[in-house]
């Protein structure tokens, strides 16, 4: 039924040429130095955009007219126009940018400089770095609270989530998590921040008021070695009921009931799943699979992977535009 409706919609989309109504998925390819643009209806690559070297972190600007891409080996942010699908600008990033987060107000971009033990603050209007915040060794994950007041950065070798006050740009607290934290994601209500620990094999849920770990979620997949369970990407549904965690070389995405923190299911996806994105209607989950060079598409209603789409070499980040 759903499939038929989708097929019908797709046909309609083609027939009346309303490309704006279809989702567009953007995938950064760490190895091929490109962004794959995937049509959400046909689930095929419609364009490949050449960007700087080793693109990983990828995000939209506030009105989704631009994409910002961390080009790590070129020490810059590339700016892509989402209509023309061309690189239209470059911005400074500090050394070796890997991941970043845009403040909800849309002007300041907070960038983790993996090589520099720093978080750089970029003013996207002035295209200038306006501040640097010293953090732990190998800063990586970046999350920002819905009210924009609290920034959380994780540092891989220090194994901490650093809580940063965005008004003063000062570290106000440090929460120890398991080894090699990668991604920090706030819940929609801002009460918790979820932090994945790649080598620790866990996700820590931190209460943002007390700044204490209230729950540590562990994973176990039958037939998969403990060492292969390496949580990285995290997404939560808008209603805050379900969370999805990419488990790296375990080739699974864990689905978690947010109320009980119980793992409900492990979805088999491509090899070395890095990051995740939900479609705007939350009917699909997209995953980047760094070793199999594809993107898995999980149908959220059926709880099944319905397609894998070949993209570029070593796909890493993924974002979706309605």
């Amino acid at each position: 039924m759903t499939m038929m409706r989708r097929a019908a919609l797709a046909l309609l989309g083609v027939a009346v040429a309303l490309p704006a109504s279809a989702d567009t998925i953007f995938v950064s390819n760490e190895k091929s130095n490109s962004i794959s643009v995937v049509d959400g209806d046909k689930l095929t690559v419609i364009s490949t955009i050449k960007v700087g070297r080793r693109p990983r972190g990828i995000t939209f600007n506030a009105d989704m007219t631009r994409i910002y891409v961390c080009s790590g080996d070129d020490n810059r942010i590339d700016v892509v126009d989402t209509t023309t699908l061309k690189v239209v600008d470059r911005m400074p990033s500090g050394k070796d940018p890997e991941l970043f987060v845009l403040e909800p107000a849309g002007r300041l971009l907070y960038i983790a400089n993996e090589d520099d033990n720093m978080v750089s603050v970029l003013d996207t209007s002035a295209k200038k770095i306006i501040g640097e915040i010293p953090v732990g060794v190998e800063p990586e994950g970046m999350g920002i609270s819905p009210d924009g007041k609290t920034l959380v950065n994780t540092s891989e070798t220090t194994s901490m989530a650093h809580f940063i006050d965005t008004a003063s740009h000062k570290v106000v607290d440090n929460v120890l998590v398991d080894a090699r934290p990668r991604v920090a994601r706030f819940t929609a209500d801002g009460r918790f921040v979820w932090v994945s620990a790649e080598l620790g094999g866990t996700v820590s849920v931190i209460d943002t008021t007390t700044r204490k770990v209230v729950k540590k979620i562990a994973f176990a997949v039958q037939g998969v070695a403990k060492e292969a369970i390496q949580p990285v990407g995290i997404v939560l549904t808008r209603d805050g009921t379900r969370a999805f965690v990419a488990l790296g070389p375990a080739n699974r995405v864990a689905e978690i009931d947010v109320q009980t923190y119980e793992v409900k299911k492990y979805h088999l996806v491509g090899q070395r799943v890095w990051n995740l994105a939900l479609s705007p209607d939350e009917k699909r989950l997209y995953t980047t699979n760094g070793v199999s060079n594809d993107m898995s598409v999980l149908d959220m209603e059926r709880g099944k992977v319905v397609k894998s789409v070949g993209v570029g070499g070593a796909p890493w980040g993924v974002i979706v535009k309605p």
Partner: protein
Amino acid sequence: MVEPAVHTLRFVARLLLLAGALLGASTAWAADPQVIRIGYLTREEEPRIPLTFLEPVSDDEGVQGARLGIADNTTTGRFLGQSFELVESVVPADGRVEDAVRELTGQGIRLLVADLRADALLAAAAAPEARGMLIFNTRAPDDDLRNERCRANVLHVTPSRRMLADALAQYLAQRRWTTWMLIVGRAPEDAAYADALRRAAKRFGAKIAEEKTWTFEDTNRRVDTGHVTIQTEIPPFTQGREHDVLVVADEADQFGEYLPYHTWSPRPVAGTHGMVPTAWSRVHEQWGATQFHNRFERQAGRWMRPRDYTAWMAVRAVGEAATRTRSNDPAALAAFIKGPDFTLAAFKGQGLSFREWDGQLRQPVLLAGPRTLVSVSPQPGFLHQFSELDTLGDDRPESRCRK
């Protein structure tokens, strides 16, 4: 910048420490800083002269890794009110390591990074003052140190020869290059490496079709038209029964470098030369290693060598324990490091921990080509009921360690 004076570097290391302390003092959490002191013990020796000209002759292998470990620990420590100090001790060539251990104990050192060869390591571990110490072996790959001669107060950070040989044998098995020619140098360590290779061949189903001992004179690496001699000597020397791969045991680095492209049959070379199983190599850039190389090269002015890497791991193991336990009590740190909750992140794509039966750090082993990374072992398909990392080296049932 290739060979900076050691003293200058020590000074820089101190400055870094000072900077770390200042940063720590300026944060709100460093009210009452805990100091964690780690000893570093090595022996004065002639610098190693590599056969290749591409590698610098360095007199600070090992200690540079330990210093970087201190800098990394300090960055983390400043958020927790912990600071780290490295107390470096160099035993004269004719000196006794036991005396150095006594002196370090006098300075309150209970956690010691030992950049020593096997006999000196055992002497250090046997010193009466070492009884309450935890010693990290960051250099000696000898298998008997993990078996018949194992000690309760020693953890082995550096992989054993058997781990290296198993890592190589798994890869060769995966490629189905299962018939080997083995060439062994005359140094005792070459014989030990060859023993590990023979054991690995048996474990992973390879056959050593022919074995030869290198008997030519050791030559100076810098000889005009030296290649003419090499080109004359090596092809007939490597003639023999049919084999898929030529495996070389030349830890002393006397001839192995000459084998590739000179072999009688067109065969790849692996072992101590050619494709090398190793704890660390500059060609490895996965799992965040890029940033680690950059930090090291900024500090040391040269590439990181395996001895630097293992010293870094030892210092980081102490740092990780201090972070997790929030303690500076050496006994508490040692207990945590040996315990079940310890995990070390060391740019190998998975957490590392110490084997309880022999104190060996279980770790993936790189297979490094001269210019790029070839692979990382354990290879897929070599399964283990507990940890696939335990397919490398002495597993629990095989261990002869009775601590």
